[in-house]
């Protein structure tokens, strides 16, 4: 256990020194503030710059609170996920390419601890950034638009966190598998996009899919209740996460730390 803490602390220290613990949360905070603020001003902006004839009686209703929260989640799901994937694409591959992992793995270090501590740190940073960003999004939404029951907000956010964990696990999985950072990022983003798209196009076929999580959290904001087959998709996602972590560890063990050098 002690070793897990040492490895985790190293990840933490590194991410503090290279400012990941500053800029990633700030990106989520920005996204969280911008969405409610634009929703609030959008009717004005459209009125003034939309090119509608003077005095036209068009009304632009403010979106509802749950709608704004869902839109914020949408922003997190695109830009936020992009940022997390790009920030962590080298999480395993980077150390292997530079050779710094050799010096660690010749010490009596458990391969499981090495991989899982990286995953834990990455996930903690992602979830923390999302939480603080979403906290601000809710505050702005409550101030500018309308209140939504706190319990709905919290429940929805917790549910959405599981999707973020799925994304961080994908990053880890591909970073163990491939050397190229660009490849890791492309595959992770590609898969998240495909899963999300497929789930919204053919929800009937993909009830189990992690891609349904976002729409479940939307309906929780709306009514406090998740959509149908909620537990199916949540449990499938968790199983997938655990499976990918285990596969990452196995792949990491099987891949030789040192490649052939003369």
């Amino acid at each position: 256990m002690n070793q897990w803490i040492i490895l985790f602390n190293k990840e933490m220290k590194e991410a503090i020194r290279n400012f990941k613990w500053i800029w990633i949360p700030l990106v989520f905070i920005l996204l969280g503030i911008i969405q409610p603020v634009t929703s609030y001003f959008l009717p004005d902006i459209l009125k003034n710059f939309g090119g509608f004839p003077e005095g036209s009686m068009l009304e632009f209703p403010l979106p509802t609170g749950p709608q704004v929260l869902a839109e914020t989640i949408g922003q997190f799901g695109q830009i936020g996920v992009l940022v997390i994937v790009l920030a962590f694409m080298g999480i395993v591959a980077g150390e292997r390419n530079s050779g710094t992992n050799i010096m660690v793995l010749v010490k009596p270090v458990s391969y499981v601890a090495y991989i899982v501590s990286k995953w834990l740190h990455m996930s903690l940073l992602a979830i923390s950034s999302f939480s603080i960003g979403f906290l601000l999004a809710s505050y702005y939404t409550f101030q500018l638009i309308e209140s939504v029951p706190i319990s709905y907000v919290i429940k929805g956010a917790v549910v959405y966190s599981i999707w973020l964990l799925f994304v961080t696990t994908l990053v880890l999985f591909f970073s163990v598998l491939f050397k190229s950072n660009a490849g890791v990022a492309a595959l992770t983003l590609g898969i998240t996009i495909i899963i999300s798209l497929m789930s919204s196009i053919t929800p009937d076929l993909l009830r189990w899919s992690p891609g349904m999580i976002a729409s479940h959290s939307h309906s929780i904001f709306q009514s406090g209740e998740a959509g149908e087959y909620f537990w199916l998709s949540i449990s499938c996602t968790i199983v997938l996460i655990i499976l990918m972590i285990i596969l990452s560890i196995i792949n990491f063990k099987n891949k030789e730390t040192v490649t052939h050098t003369t």
Partner: protein
């Protein structure tokens, strides 16, 4: 003229200010890091330009692509 002033007054600056502050923090942190490190991917001055004139995404692009990992 007056209309514009009224418009400006009607904007709730208390809500917008945090955005500006966060943007500033990002800018400063990115610049500090860029100057302190001296090992950027590509010429340093290009990254300074990206950070300063890149708007919100300037510093972020720097953090993702500009730092060489060590």
């Amino acid at each position: 003229m007056n209309e514009i002033l009224l418009e400006l007054e009607s904007i709730p600056w208390g809500l917008i200010a945090p955005l500006v502050i966060i943007q500033l923090i990002l800018l400063v942190v990115a610049l500090v890091d860029c100057f302190r490190h001296n090992n950027t991917n590509g010429p340093q001055w290009v990254w300074v330009l990206v950070i300063v004139f890149g708007g919100i995404i300037g510093p972020i692009v720097y953090f993702i692509f500009g730092r060489r990992n060590d």
